[in-house]
Amino acid sequence: MINKVVKNAEEAIKDIHDGAVLLVGGFGLCGIPENLIAALVKKGVKNLTCISNNAGVDDFGLGLLLQTRQIKKMISSYVGENDEFERQMLSGELEVELIPQGTLATRCLMAGYGIPAFYTPAGFGTEVGEGKESRKFTFNGIEKDYLMEYAFESDFALVKAWKGDEAGNLIFRSTARNFNPLMAMAGKITIAEVEELVPAGTLHPDQIHTPGIYVHRIFQGEKYEKRIEQRTVRKRN
């Protein structure tokens, strides 16, 4: 067993530098690395490029790093719900690249699997396809146009899991899984915060979502807020 445990978020991000390219897990505010984002705010690193499906809300998630103007560029699929984001984007302070959600997810997967390029139909014939190579393939009898997309290159991946062990193995809970295992695989250096850190041998080998080989540093996070963006409920009859 190779021990991946670090003390806390500050130690985990100590070598994240100005200008770093970060993959940040989560979908909306669900499954985001709360402690790592807080540590980045505290550290004050600047000119970050963040690849993350969304950009948080004004006062939570990646929105916190937008407030402090630490992000130079966002690569996302959907960035609503954030006034400061909108202001920075419209004023040109913030660079934004929008890409289809499935392409975003798959570019992470391919990085984790060492596949530099692949073909997907998403965005063909739209402005997403402009300037990209395209090619026709026939699969199962259906001919279609596909765009060639590339695996993501990045410096660090910051992910959040439910449980993790000393060997860096991760288990995610419910839809907090989302992009987290994919970004964990894609990171050149992957940092995982977990709600519960357990000794090696505690997690069942068949139930591990992300094997520890993909995780370089792990720590147990503190005071998870796990904010709900849209609290929708029904009444009991």
């Binding site: 960035v79 609503g80 289809p100 959600q101 997810a105 739209t126 839809t175 709900i228 029904r234």
Partner: protein, 218 residues
Amino acid sequence: MLDKNGIAKRIAREVKDGMYVNLGIGIPTLVANFIPEGINVVLQSENGILGMGPFPYEGEEDADLINAGKQTVTLLPGASIFDSAMSFGMIRAQKVDLTILGAMEVSENGDIANWKIPGKMVKGMGGAMDLVASAKNIIVAMQHVNKAGESKLLPACTLPLTGVRCVKKIVTELAVLDVLPEGGFRLMERAPGVSVEQIKNATKGKLIVEGIIPEMEI
């Protein structure tokens, strides 16, 4: 003329037993409320759910369990959770049988525009481009005309496209229309109390009216 629930109710009749279905935000979400008893359907949410259930009872919300609209939801028996690559993988591999989503414009050859208005804040395409590029069967739920009274069924989209030649069927407050493979909106059904003339006036793209157009049953 149908209200939003009416559109959803009519679309629900397109949902067949044994289908895996992805519902977009807005009217499409309402479709789930009208799927008849005995029709077994599994709802996919592209953030990583198969077997999505209704909203939780008050006090039972789980921050870790949301749908693609970021709303708290529940899971039904037989549900499974997976990562976003697998989620869009099963969409791309056409394992999801039906996608229902909204649109700003649809062209007579099936192009769809629903993510960007130049000059306005662009929030992004989310999963829409993946869904429309891959789905076997796409039904658009939308109003026939926009707030300015202009037709949303056009010869060609004026807004930036989400996908090309992909929409198969459109249900609006006025009508049900099939998009023909060779191009054109074929009028299939009129909403209760709506005349063919009204539909013609509200449709800027090529409208094909053949024979008697029945009033829809909902």
